[in-house]
Symmetry: C2
Subunit: 487 residues, 2 copies
């Protein structure tokens, strides 16, 4: 399976973005005493002290009777629970009302109910990037580049991608009627697709030259370890000589899953991760695996958080892997979600422990430094050009800066990249226009800006320009070579 481009949105990812920055434990690893035990005051049956219940009740009553608009009492109670969590000052301890809780749990599970089509937004149109393997969408015959015109009679034209995804998804067993436009055909196709459980793909692998394999992990969901082993085994059967594991922009996931994956590489008896509870008791997770005899490197960046950092730390400190890319995010805590206790479908995600790397470092707020720092080209993160006014000689703005960064990234050497449109920039624009078969004016009008952006997206999607990936593969090749000459 091919590595997915960063430009594509997963149907589920579009809905879940942001909620997954967690490191969940699923009950078995830790247990705690019953709630409310440690309060020293006289408690009511609810677990609140009399004075606490009185303060909360008085506030609730005042708001309800005095506020100038009508008030939803349950919103106030949810607000109160939310406020308690916020008082902790920990961004990873959160209250989630029922709807958010459901999405969160889907993301942890790595599955959802829908049709299973990865979609992206293209000029206001919802376009299929690819149907997920084995999903209802694939079985029905949905193809990459199909444009989804409408769902159950509702047009998706111009709709926000998240809203469109919400229309396509739905409960298991329900039917989505999709009107599709395919190729340049004027005639549309209609598909009746029954929604079902769809397992989210979180592992992608490829085999590069000289036996170097690359496995990308997009998040650590419940099924990710099994999928990882599957892909790893495929690569090994193809004669894997060295492996690059890519956890860039991987926000984390489930703790036992990352331990399971790390165990494939950390030799028996060595530490994968240490977990320190509130009483400062440390629990060392020791590998029962046997290690690998081929070299491993980990690609990471500032979007690699939590479980990704556990993997990077474990493989660096206990399996001799090199870390390549940018400094990682820096989240060194473990959360559990309590989803039954509140009794109404809402849940509390609470930070219950710190985790430390095998050598006992707490990377929280600092991240992990790569062994080999490799930056992506600056045009990977350039802002788009505001096309409402043309840019020309003597213009000076952040739009010119974007255009200069794009021109430079595409090899047209504008000279300066600080936003001032000088003669060097003008010459570069002319060269680009000539190469792109546009009218050569030296002025960045709408057409030129669009052509620049299109050329840039191609450049970003071209693996040849992925500095970090290239360096990872190169390092592994070197290590394979060194090993071969030693043996």
């Amino acid at each position: 399976m091919l590595k997915k481009s960063t430009a594509a949105f997963m149907v589920i990812a579009a809905l879940l973005c942001g909620s997954l920055l967690t490191l969940a434990v699923t009950g078995s690893l830790f247990s705690g005493q019953a709630a409310g035990e440690s309060a020293s005051t006289v408690l009511t049956s609810s677990g609140l002290a009399q004075s606490e219940a009185k303060k909360l009740g008085t506030a609730l009553g005042l708001i309800e009777s005095k506020y100038y608009q009508s008030v939803d009492r349950s919103k106030l109670i949810n607000g109160a629970v939310n406020g308690m969590m916020e008082a902790l000052g920990d961004p990873y301890s959160n209250y989630m009302a029922k709807e958010t809780a459901e999405k969160f749990e889907e993301s942890i599970e790595g599955s959802f109910t829908g049709i299973g089509a990865e979609v992206a937004s293209d000029n206001g149109k919802v376009v299929v990037v690819s149907p997920i393997k084995g999903s209802p969408a694939e079985k029905a015959g949905i193809q990459a580049k199909d444009i989804i015109v409408s769902v159950n009679g509702v047009s998706l034209e111009g709709m926000d991608l998240n809203d469109a995804v919400a229309k396509i998804r739905g409960p298991k067993g329900s039917t989505a009627v999709l009107v599709i436009r395919r190729g340049g055909s004027a005639q549309s196709l209609t598909f009746n697709i029954r929604r079902d459980n769809v397992t989210l793909e979180t592992v992608y692998s490829s085999m590069e030259k000289n036996g170097v394999g690359v496995i990308e992990i997009t998040q650590f969901s419940m099924n990710t370890a099994a999928r990882f082993k599957e892909e790893l085994s495929k690569l090994e059967k193809k004669g894997l000589k060295g492996l690059v594991i890519d956890v860039r922009n991987d926000p984390g996931g489930v703790l036992p899953v990352v331990i399971d994956i790390a165990e494939q590489f950390v030799p028996k008896g060595k530490t994968i991760v240490q977990v320190e509870d509130k009483d400062k008791q440390r629990d060392r997770q020791i590998s029962k695996g046997s290690g690998k005899d081929y070299p491993v490197a980990v690609l990471m960046n500032k979007g690699s958080a939590s479980a990704s950092e556990i993997l990077a730390g474990a493989l660096q400190q206990s399996a001799g892997a090199k870390l390549i890319g940018d400094n990682s995010f820096g989240k060194g805590t473990v959360q559990t979600s309590f989803d039954k206790e509140l009794g109404d479908g809402s849940l509390l995600k609470i930070t219950i422990a710190k985790w430390l790397t095998p050598n006992g470092t707490w990377i929280h707020g600092k991240g992990i430094k790569p062994d080999i720092a490799v930056a992506q080209p600056d045009y990977f993160s350039v802002a788009p050009i505001d096309k409402r006014a043309p840019l020309q000689y003597n213009s000076n703005s952040t739009n010119v800066k974007s255009a200069q960064t794009m021109l430079d990234g595409l090899g047209y050497k504008p000279g300066r990249k600080d936003g001032y449109f000088d003669t060097g920039t003008k010459d570069a624009v002319k060269k680009f226009q000539s190469a792109a078969k546009l009218k050569v004016t030296g002025i960045i009008d709408v057409k030129t800006a669009e052509a620049l952006e299109a050329a840039l997206i191609k450049a970003i999607q071209n693996p040849a320009n992925d500095n970090q990936r290239n360096r990872g593969i190169e390092e592994i090749r070197k290590e394979i070579g060194a090993k071969a000459s030693n043996s």
Copy 2:
């Protein structure tokens, strides 16, 4: 008394900044039914329904027993009350813990306990702007421009202004030992000052040429109406022929106070303001005053909020006053603070009503449009220059943009103000350097940047450059003239 410059910080204002954006009612104007009455579920003695108390108690217990760090239970309860208020989605309904509540009430009262010196921060030094009239600081002989070196043995050098103010303030009757440096003298002076109640000055007046008076109101505190009437009466005795009321950057204050002030100008029987409660009942505040026979204008800007907007609306719609300056802030609600109910010194400030202008407009979120829009010069809001690197020909940055705006404001015509340092900018820098008796290089080094900023501050403080104030005075002069020629 002279109008205070915008650059100065009031001792109290430095501590209260931001908390005053309110429109308080002090008990008499509105009454409501008892708290908690409207809940339809079975309530416990605290006013919470069983299910509510259970949810809150469970969350509290889970956090306390599971969170990875120790937890202050009272912080969680305060967080819960805070969370209820935030659930309203109203930025003006807030929970304030005891300390914040005390500061808030001081700001409403318009008095505090301290020594009564208005101070500013100047290059890391705490400098007295002026002692407040009749305050302990004035009685002890503290003078403008005194540098406060230390308070009770603690050096203020390099301290944040808010922290320094907190050191200077203290309970009534306590003593502050101030070490002062005055003039260029190497010897320091020591003052033992007994802290006392200090009334904050909120009203400043001046008489301009041709009988035009200007009264500035900085906020509407409990004593502001009395002070306003005092200053107005002084001006009238001096032969006032027309009045400019300046409520620019006045964040508001107490509702009955602004009604009292508006009543000086709104003729008997006309509406000052309408207040609409949660049941959509409107209460019209009708003037019992007699109006004035001289013209009135109100200066306002985007910092004029709440009570300032009530005054502007009342005087425009019911007293024929012209509004001059920028669009106002747009806060159309009334709050009451409930400071006894929670029983622990904390308070709830709750929005209890909307207010409408005399003709029934709700200006919330929109503000009031001036009759005559007058902008201040752009250099009034320019950012300071980062002096770590010199700026010179072909530089391109926001620092250059600041420098160009300053040069332009000072009359040196750099040509462009977009951040690109061209030959026009270079010529302007040379002219400025020559006038400021600096080495003429055309390069903005530290000395040139400092000289530019010093010249700019002088320009901002010069009333001749206050476009809005000038226009206000001019309009009133015209109206006085028109009236005279009609009579």
